[in-house]
Symmetry: none
Subunit: 462 residues, 2 copies
């Protein structure tokens, strides 16, 4: 093993930041909105732009057909360390409401915040073009200084993340050999705060259910039948009320099977992060966490499971009144899963619980169930400690390992289909306005993001 | 007193039934939904149609401004008997869910049931256009045969019954002299069964509430906030679940204040009617009365109070899924009142109960409350015996006196403001699907309803 000139590569990053920004801006100018077919050509153009750019760095790159928007697959050999599969996406969210943008969403600019912070403002600045380009620029600097990469890299940059990665799951299955690697690197998550880097080591899974409770065979006049006929809105309300206990725990028998407590050292780390109700809930007008008593707020939103009704409706919901007893009432519900909870078992436990609450004369029907298990990266994953040290070196503050409350289902496919654990590192901040007007990415996130990947690639090769 | 040619008038009813139906169909074609302002013109058109029709019969008629939808007031002198104020309404309930109608709700038709029964199918066929037209057609036949009416009649046909008679109370107060009469006749109730006519001597009162529970100051991503942020749909569900106890009683403290048990003889009569769950609930697909344990089914639906959520909604209710925790959740609710329950006290007890269930961080707002007390007519009312005899003659079975589960608040105003007791006679049947898709009115109800009013008008004049 030869010594790698890490400092020279970092210096190259600093010196070429203006050119790095020029390239990011070129990509941001392409309106690659994946959910609207009117932008299909823009999605193809973004893929082509990436292919052309990666080829200039010596990657063997192509825009590959997926059945939907193309996926960019690019490969370059590297040092003797583990081969890494990098994942990101070039597609972006729609821009509406357009009138709330201060400047056009696809005309990127550098804005200066009142506190002097420089920000890249454009749709996709943070999610995910800015993040993708931190990795691409890190590779470029390694190649520029040393002529090669510390580790071999395959990039998979898709164009349908914002529309549920509709075709990527099949694409991964169909291209196992082509995407083979030792570890996956994902850049689509955030920092803990503006000064503290983070590695996301768990993602909650999900169970999605829609169901209806049916009572009478038609809507009834409440004057005629009120007092005698079962009201499905009351029945559904009792069912929803029965989902949680007064201790904040989910009261579905068997629901917690597979839920594990955090390792003691991680719990200590999380206590140290001191996520307060005032900081987290204050901005949304709340003050009291409603999760399990005795748990930290950060546990409630990342390492504990949830059960939330996302929508509920029944009876007359229009203007004025209607003295009706409805025939049926509906709910949409999602459970967020953690640790080893099995989505099928959770779904079945939920359904059994609902059926057990159902009074005589009422029926229940379930629709549209789907689910994915939570993803927990092994705490002893070899690359985790290396990446953590690299991030700590770059930011001068210990990198934390956190759980994300959300779900990135493709990470599950990397494990299931490619056998890969994923290292989730990203530089987004909570105020990036992701999915909202005036999306931004701090210039510091971009610059130090590139430097962070330079260090991580170096650390992986050790 | 000259002998009145009752048989000739009844024969005229029989001979002109087709024309009577044509007129009813013309009225049914007008989409006079009063609760939705989009149908304001249709309400005015229905009033105008009635005015024009009544004028052809020699009534002095006008569509009168009430501040809301117009009320039709029409007058005709008659014989020497008591002057009668007839009340009905031309407005109808909304038609949703529209996809459950077998034919368009405002395209009336005659359908034949499997047992050969002919039915008029349309929104308003029973409630209340069909019922109103039984009285109008009875008057028409008296006029056609004798040139006059057995008793003087003032008709008051309003357009806001389904929206709580919002402006009629003030209208009655402001037009006392114009509406002066000796007795009120109301046609908005039902038969005991398809062969047994009924006079309704008590009506439940009503309290109407709409309210929303508010948690966060905006809709939240359930992946980010799920497990920590209060979910207003859960909170509302707990409130709704808390409205009833396992014994079927309403669990709002103070709710039963003023509720009285039936007189022993009436309770005995009602036991004799033997209203079974199979007969009453079977046709709507239910089998178990959900009211207070230990009460007769007929008590539950007529002499006991109720509390029903008529509509509830919150969060995402569209196609597919959205992982949102809503900011607010809504419900519409009605309580049916009996005996001496005070609507204001009941409303206040309800609101206090809701507030007592409300967790930290949640707010509740109440909208659009209105109410009316229950009404009991004097059992010894003079016209009651006459009407009962007339109905018994027409139907060949003794007319029964019953309590109605529904509310007709204006009947209270007739007593309070005009000094009138009301004779409530109607020909609706329990399976009329009032307020539901495919509302119908049996052709027999319409035909014998007209004949019944012909006889009652004759009996009143004796």
């Amino acid at each position: 093993m030869t010594a790698r000139p890490l400092d020279q590569v970092l210096a190259h990053v600093d010196q070429s930041l203006d050119q790095s920004l020029d390239r990011l801006f070129a990509l941001l100018r392409i309106a690659s909105v994946s959910t609207d077919s009117a932008y299909a050509k823009d999605c193809a153009a973004a893929a082509d732009w990436l292919v052309a750019d990666l080829r200039t760095m010596g990657f063997e790159a192509a825009a590959r057909d997926t059945g939907g928007h193309p996926a960019v697959v690019a490969k370059s050999a590297g040092g003797a360390g583990p081969h890494a599969l990098f994942y990101g996406h070039y597609d972006v969210q729609p821009v509406d409401p357009l009138d709330q943008w201060e400047t056009p969403p696809f005309e990127p600019r550098i804005a200066t915040a009142p506190d002097g912070t420089k920000r890249i403002v454009a749709r996709g600045a943070s999610d995910d073009k800015g993040q993708v380009m931190t990795f691409v620029e890190a590779c470029r600097s390694w190649k520029a200084v040393t002529g090669s990469l510390p580790v071999g890299i395959t990039m998979l940059i898709e164009g349908e993340e914002e529309s549920g990665s509709a075709h990527l799951f099949d694409f991964v299955k169909a291209n196992r050999a082509d995407l083979a690697a030792d570890v996956a690197l994902v850049c689509d998550t955030g920092m803990w705060d503006a000064g503290t880097p983070a590695i996301t080591t768990s993602l909650r899974g999900i169970v999605v259910e829609e169901f209806k409770v049916v009572a009478a065979n038609r809507d009834l006049h409440s004057g005629v039948y009120g007092g005698a006929a079962a009201n499905p809105i009351h029945v559904l309300s009792r069912i929803v009320a029965s989902l949680h206990g007064p201790d904040g725990r989910i009261a579905i028998p068997g629901f917690y099977e597979g839920v594990e407590d955090l390792p003691a050292d991680i719990l200590e780390d999380w206590k140290g992060l001191n996520l307060t109700a005032q900081d987290f809930l204050g901005p949304i007008g709340l003050s009291q966490p409603i999760g399990e008593k005795g748990r930290l707020l950060i546990e409630m939103v990342s390492s504990r499971p949830t059960c939330d009704v996302n929508g509920m409706w029944g009876g007359y919901t229009g203007e004025g009144g209607k003295t009706v007893i409805a025939s049926e009432a509906w709910a949409k519900l999602t459970c967020r899963l953690v640790s080893k909870q099995d989505p099928v078992k959770v779904r079945d436990a939920f359904r059994a619980h609902v059926r057990a609450q159902l009074p005589a004369d009422c029926k229940v029907e379930f629709f549209g169930s789907r689910g994915s298990a939570a993803i927990s990266l092994p705490w002893d994953m070899p690359v985790l400690a290396r990446a953590r040290a690299a991030l700590t070196d770059e930011w001068g503050r210990k990198a934390v390992t956190i759980g994300s409350g959300g779900s990135i289902p493709i990470v599950g496919a990397f494990k299931a289909d490619l056998g890969l654990d994923s290292l989730l590192v990203g530089f987004a901040l909570e105020d990036d306005r992701v999915h909202s007007p005036n999306e931004k990415y701090d210039l510091k996130s971009f610059h130090k993001g590139i430097r962070s990947w330079v260090r991580i690639l170096d650390a992986l090769a050790d």
